[in-house]
């Protein structure tokens, strides 16, 4: 059997994918595992091939990333010894930069490399563009409403104003935070902490299967270590919201990782949630706990799911789960899957490629 949509070109080498069995992902994170559970076909298109709809609004993703980054900057500056006020100031300055989009023109002298030679001197930092490889043409504020329909614009609570408000209110609320960020042995705060562990299972290529991910923050509360995971939502944080994290792929993975991958096992995961409304931001923290039995069950289930992914990789075919098409806000590939398999490639022009790689290390602030 062949893939439903042919590959656009030879994929770049990704750290999390097998070099010997095309399409086999040996390092899994909660995003790739969760997508596979939703629909193997969606997994193939979005994770294996990396397709993203060109018109898909990245409002929630960018808002969440900026929020996370601002708090990460604050944690780093506090760890560096700055006061609450100065650390907040650094976070807000960084946030302001993050909320701006730049249009740049490549430097002709260095062809965008940042290095150039002048006369007989060997190639060094390009003096024309000061080593940046490009010139700033213009800078404008990110427009969170870009790409939204007029109705969605009316409803939208994620704006630059609410982003700044949320960060300031959060830092003020938790100035004397009962959750103290752990400082690692190298002096860095335990924020955006990457983890990976060997599951002990083997993939169809005979290699080990890894679980990996990034924890927002590892803290101590009453001298006990916990993982703190930040979430933004427009929902009111009621029991319905807190219940949505159990069962939950990501929380179960973090709990398992916290017990397996760390020298000192963590107690569990605390969801550090914020409701973003037009007139307020409301913060709530709640633990989402797993018993040993539940973690063992989740690992057993995960072994089953990844085994299934291995089988699909071997046969090169990923079936649709047509019960998931209207869930999770509607699948971005529904328009493609509605077409006859023979013509689907034509409709992929609406998508661009952005490859997902769980083992790729995230940048530091």
């Amino acid at each position: 059997m062949t893939t439903a949509v042919p590959l656009h070109s030879e994929p770049e080498v990704r750290l999390s994918f097998s070099k010997t069995l095309p399409g086999w992902q040996f390092a899994w994170d909660s995003t790739s595992l969760g997508t596979f559970k939703e629909c193997p076909r969606k997994y193939q298109l979005s994770i294996l091939f990396g397709y993203r709809h060109r018109k898909a609004t990245n409002l929630h993703l960018r808002f969440g990333q900026l929020y996370h980054r601002a708090l990460e900057v604050y944690d780093h500056r506090k760890c560096d010894g700055l006061s609450h006020e100065m650390a907040m100031r650094a976070a807000l300055l960084d946030l302001a930069e993050g909320c701006q989009d730049e249009a740049r023109e490549p430097c002709v002298k260095c062809n965008g490399t940042g290095a150039a030679s002048y006369g007989d001197l060997p190639a060094n930092r390009c003096w024309d563009c000061e080593g940046k490889g490009s010139f700033l043409i213009t800078r404008r504020w990110w427009d969170p409403n870009e790409g939204l329909t007029p109705e969605k614009v009316q409803e939208n609570t994620k704006t630059i104003y609410t982003l700044f408000r949320t960060v300031v209110w959060y830092l003020d609320r938790f100035e004397d935070d009962p959750a103290q960020t752990i400082v690692l042995s190298d002096g860095r705060p335990a924020v955006e902490l990457s983890f990976r562990f060997d599951t002990g299972w083997k993939g169809p290529d005979g290699e080990s299967i890894l679980m990996c991910g990034h924890m927002d923050r590892v803290v101590t509360i009453s001298d006990e270590p916990w993982v703190l995971d930040r979430k933004t939502t427009k929902q009111t944080i009621t029991k319905n919201y807190t219940d949505s994290f159990h069962p939950d792929n990501q929380m179960s993975l973090y709990t398992a990782a916290g017990r397996i991958a760390f020298a000192v096992p963590v107690k569990g995961v605390i969801v550090d949630a914020v409701q973003i409304a037009k007139g307020f931001s409301r913060f709530e923290r709640f633990p989402t706990l797993r018993t040993e039995g539940q973690i063992n069950e989740w690992l057993e289930d995960t072994k089953f799911w990844i085994g299934l992914a291995g089988h699909f990789a071997e046969i090169g075919y990923y079936p649709m789960n047509d019960k998931s098409c209207d869930k999770y806000g509607g699948c971005p590939f529904r328009g493609v899957c509605q077409k006859d398999p023979a013509v689907r490639e034509i409709w992929m022009g609406d998508y661009q490629v952005s490859l997902w790689d769980p083992l790729k290390v995230r940048g530091d602030v």
Binding site: T238, P287, T291
Partner: protein, 265 residues
């Protein structure tokens, strides 16, 4: 078809009774029967055990009590917990590593883990949630109740798990609620909120009530196993156990009826 047979599981008992009814003191009969009794004490009410075993050093030696409570202070007329909070967090640490006896998962059927009481533990859980949300000393809001109830239920689930092979007794005070669809108020174990008390019994294979029967000179404290109109009780061996036991020997007799005499190690 597999025939039904006993798995020989440990007793997981929910023991409910009003404050001062004799729940904690009833444990002495188990110690006299040879069981090791390890009490995770949230009520700070273990003094009765010392008083009842004063003349019996070998019985007293079978008790090990870990008391963990939150401290409180009064400031400007407001009483609020002192941080760092000790009650719930330290209590849970002890379940993982009881001083001198290790993780509770390593204990056997000659040992009884007692949690006294679930009601007070609930209060410390709520303090923990409020502390987490920088709300300590303030009234809990709706979302705090949900989070605290989940934690309390998770603790019960942990104790009910087959990985905990020792016997477990959880003490609870009583609360009266009118369950959905019923016109009568019934007595339930006092847990957080209104939704948790009617279902917390699911985490136990026995629910016993400690109360007073009779009046005047005939008044006596008993441990009941049989449900009434106002309180739902349960036992895995109806007909094999008695409807009620005297409090002085009740727990030991109940254990003997369920499991036989304790075998020497």
């Amino acid at each position: 078809m597999a025939p039904i047979k006993s798995k020989g599981e440990a007793s997981k008992i929910l023991m409910i009774g009003a404050n001062g009814s004799g729940k904690t003191g009833s444990l002495v009969s188990l110690a006299r029967a040879g069981y090791n009794i390890r009490v995770l004490d949230f009520d700070n009410g273990a003094e009765i055990l010392y008083q009842l075993t004063k003349g019996e050093p070998e019985v007293a030696a079978r008790f090990d009590v870990e008391t963990h409570t939150d401290d409180y202070k009064s400031q400007a007329g407001v009483v609020q917990p002192v941080t760092p909070l000790k009650g719930f967090a330290n209590g849970m640490k002890v379940l993982d590593n009881w001083p001198g006896f290790g993780n509770i998962n390593t204990w056997g059927p000659d040992t009884v883990l007692v949690l006294d009481s679930m009601t007070m533990m609930g209060k410390f859980i709520m303090n923990h949630i409020l502390f987490l949300n920088a709300h300590l000393g303030q009234n809990p809001q709706l979302q705090h109740w949900g989070a605290a109830m989940s934690i309390q239920e998770d603790v019960m689930a942990r104790l009910y798990s087959p990985t905990v092979k020792c016997h477990v007794i959880v003490m609870a005070h009583i609360t009266f609620l009118e369950p959905e669809g019923e016109a009568v108020r019934k007595a339930y174990p006092s847990a957080l909120g209104n939704k948790l008390p009617p279902k917390i019994g699911s985490y136990f294979n026995s629910t016993l009530h400690v109360g007073v029967k009779g009046s005047g000179a005939n008044q006596r404290r008993v441990i009941s196993t049989k449900s009434t109109n106002t309180i739902d009780l349960k036992t895995p061996a109806p007909g094999l156990v008695k409807d009620e036991y005297p409090i002085e020997t009740g727990l030991a007799d109940y254990f003997k009826d369920l499991h036989g005499p304790l075998k020497a190690a």
